[in-house]
Symmetry: C2
Subunit: 321 residues, 2 copies
């Protein structure tokens, strides 16, 4: 339905809210801490506060908002609005749709953040009109989304697309999820940070020693980019290994799905895409059939940080339409 929408990206640490106008432009933004550790009611209040702030800032009357769309981490039934389970938010078997609609009086729709990000790229970003698409989002961890036969595929129980937890080595390092050798244990920021800190603690020289917060378990993308720009040997080496494994995972997915397109997004690609993509494109030829690769476009996310916002817009328009 045409009109203005509120679109939200609900993360474990912060909630980003936006107002998107009739021309699909983001015209207002507001951000608040999630305060997930304070429990369910506080998070709902924080969400409500973001909405209030957006309405106040914009002076748009609530009645002009067609619906709110949102992406959040976890296993989410997009049809009913039930959050079945979330790793970072205090919700379990909880109907957040009903709770927010009761609180705010605006229709509310929510889906898994990586799936919703994929939907954003598919409806408004890099993958418009593609029939089969694999989306891989590389940040602190690795999330994924799948478009199959012209629709978002969420599997039999809204659990599909856990692409960060494909096994890339059954005898590899343990992942936070309890499995061994997941893609995420090789190619996400947490694993890169572990490797960088281990090497520096062993006396390896690197400009990252001064650039990064050595207490943090997740390096920010900016110092990593600075180190790569300056050809820091440790940064180049660690990123190279991550790209090699990312190529192996991506290649596998290409052999499994034979998609039209693979979209790579997330903070790491956002900051370092120009550096990563050519290397990934070389490595990937080792891990997928030449015939399949030939017909597969491998591209960077077009919406960057806003892919979840635009996916939330697509979800809300689809459900409220």
């Amino acid at each position: 339905m045409a009109g203005k929408y509120i679109c939200m990206d609900i993360g474990g640490t912060k909630i980003l809210g936006t107002i998107v106008d009739e021309n699909n432009n983001i015209i207002f933004r507001a951000k608040k801490k999630t305060k997930a550790n304070k429990g369910l009611e506080v998070v709902e209040q924080r969400m409500a506060k973001v909405v209030e702030e957006l309405l106040e800032q914009s002076q748009i009357p609530k009645e002009e908002i067609v619906a709110i769309g949102a992406g959040a981490p976890g296993v989410i039934n997009e049809d009913t609005g039930e959050i079945i389970y979330s790793p970072n938010l205090p919700w379990k078997n909880y109907n957040i749709k009903k709770a927010i609609e009761d609180k705010l009086g605006i229709p509310f729709f929510v889906g898994n953040d990586a799936n919703i990000g994929m939907m954003g790229e598919w409806k408004y970003g890099a993958a418009v009109n593609k029939k089969n698409v694999v989306g891989i989002f590389v940040g602190t961890g690795i999330g994924g989304g799948l478009i199959v036969n012209d629709s978002l595929f969420s599997g039999s129980k809204y659990l599909a697309g856990e692409l960060g937890h494909m096994v890339l080595n059954p005898e590899g390092p343990y992942c936070n999820c309890g499995q061994r050798g997941c893609l995420e244990t090789y190619a996400a920021k947490v694993s890169m940070t572990r490797e960088i800190k281990n090497q520096i603690n062993r006396g390896r020289d690197s400009i990252l020693k001064d650039l990064m917060d050595m207490e943090s378990s997740v390096i920010r993308s900016k110092p990593l980019k600075t180190a790569i720009d300056q050809k820091d040997a440790l940064a180049v080496e660690v990123l190279d290994k991550a790209i090699y494994y990312l190529a192996a995972g991506t290649g596998s997915l290409i052999n499994i799905f034979n998609p039209d397109m693979v979209v790579l997004g997330g903070g790491v690609i956002e900051s370092l895409g120009d550096y990563i993509m050519p290397i990934l494109n070389r490595y990937i030829r080792r891990f997928a059939f030449p015939d399949i690769i030939e017909g597969t476009e491998i591209v960077e996310s077009a919406l960057g940080d806003d892919s979840i916002i635009y996916g939330a817009l697509a979800l809300a328009k689809e459900k409220q339409g």
Copy 2:
């Protein structure tokens, strides 16, 4: 359409033909060597000979055959009947549908053998009425098929489902396909045979030394089963490693697809399923999320060697219907 069908399983070494009656029973069978090395025309003649033999044997007039369905190795456009490429048969960008229809005057439909095997299990076997299914067929190599949202998924260019060529270790052994560490290099008969022969050649004791053909690059399933039944240490060890990697691949696919069901079939499962399945079910818990596994049935093929025959029936009925 109701009526009798001829259903064929076209392999690199032999062609199996059957007549399937109105009640979906296989009432006649005929088998001939493919003679793939003699070229395209000879293979077509062999296919025609199988059909003739079936008609002669059964005394069923050609006019009573509604259509012929077939599964064959390779990249096949199920809609047009074009074989785009086949690793084991002398066809490339060749419309086999047209050729056979011209020769025999019976409608002919063909698809990729692993996909067609999956379709057989889905329409007549273990996965009837399941919405999302992953099929993994373990034999000389490993093939796969996917049912997604209630239909066979063959990807953007009929290349999807190459599940044997998921990468399970980007630094692992080279596969025949040129990639490294494919599932097939760990869990198929070719890799098991290589490991068994290497160990025996190094002086390892095993009853397989007498049971198997040490000149062959592919062990038959029967001696492997005999060795396992007799608790031969080498056979147990080699199969255990294969099952571990098969579990890792299956677990990854469960995390990617969140299917209702995984069907395992092919010669190895056919012979050794009773031994393999309980071990696989234990190992798989290391490689997929508990929540996803909980809702996923992991079962053996119900049709065994006839899954391709029944899939060919399903294809012919669908296309001629």
